[in-house]
Amino acid sequence: MMRRLAPAVTDAKRSHPASSWQPDHDHFRRRVEERLRDDGCARPEFVAAVLEVRARLGLDVAGFAELLRVDRSVVDEAEAGCPARAVVLALARLAPDIDWPALIRGPARPALRRASDRATLEQR
């Protein structure tokens, strides 16, 4: 019975509206960049690209750091918009299709500070 139903199920799955949907990765990355920019990220384009590469590989931060042969804190800083030279070079080796130097060219946007940070600075 199941065997006879199987082709029908496959056909139904194929014609389901969800099956015709195709992800637009560039569009999604741009929207993530917008969100990062709104959150005050210093280098939203770079951070979004790093996150996308890590997601593509299915790795958490620790695994990604291991793959890049850098310390976990270096990846944390890169994902916060403060990339070290070592991580940019490693990313260029890992994902050569992306122009990493272009993504960090130019001065970083001043990151938004939390009110508590601002108060600390004013005290100094």
């Binding site: 969800a18 099956s19 929207r31 993530v32 969100r35």
Partner: protein, 220 residues
Amino acid sequence: MEGDRFNQLVEVMDAMAAGDRAAVFVLYREFGGMIGAALRREIRAMGIEFVRPEELGDLVIDACFELNDCAGAWRPDGGALPWTWAARRLRQVVIRHIGVLADELDHERLLHVSEAPPVSGAQEPEEVAVLAGLAALDDSCALLQKALAKVASARDRALLLELKVQASLGDPSPALTVANRNGMRPDAVRQAAKRTLDRLRRLAHTDEHFAGLSCLAILR
């Protein structure tokens, strides 16, 4: 959803809940199609039959961000997939994107409506008389009529029944309607009805003969 796929979804939701910002990319890539299908359902429920693919694409992205923001509250053992569990949030995404839809006012139809006689509980036979008629046919109604006669004045009996009938007609402010009809304040109507209901409940509790009252919807 099959076991492996569900496990993958749980992993992604856990990662988002833990603040891993790369996880939303995985949600979009792996489950965007299913989120899109859930969004289509919401869109159809709003009376829109067709949505352009690029519009749906934007909606799927917004929905992924929305699910990312509330991932910590989703429980895999709750029995619902995240986009089903967060259906209200997804509806908000659709409303933000498409706007609230409304049909244009049909003036001709409105004219006919305004000429039609008003439909209201006031046009119905007196509720007390209706209950008396029903009491002859139904034991529960007979019991209620007898109990009302025992615990409430004629005015309070009428007020309670009017209030309940008005509420059952879908009146959003039944106490106000009944109050206007009887030249009272809504608070006074509510108070009178509460007093009668309290007495009925007490009677049902203390007098075995009236125990059957507690099963009636009017007392709940």
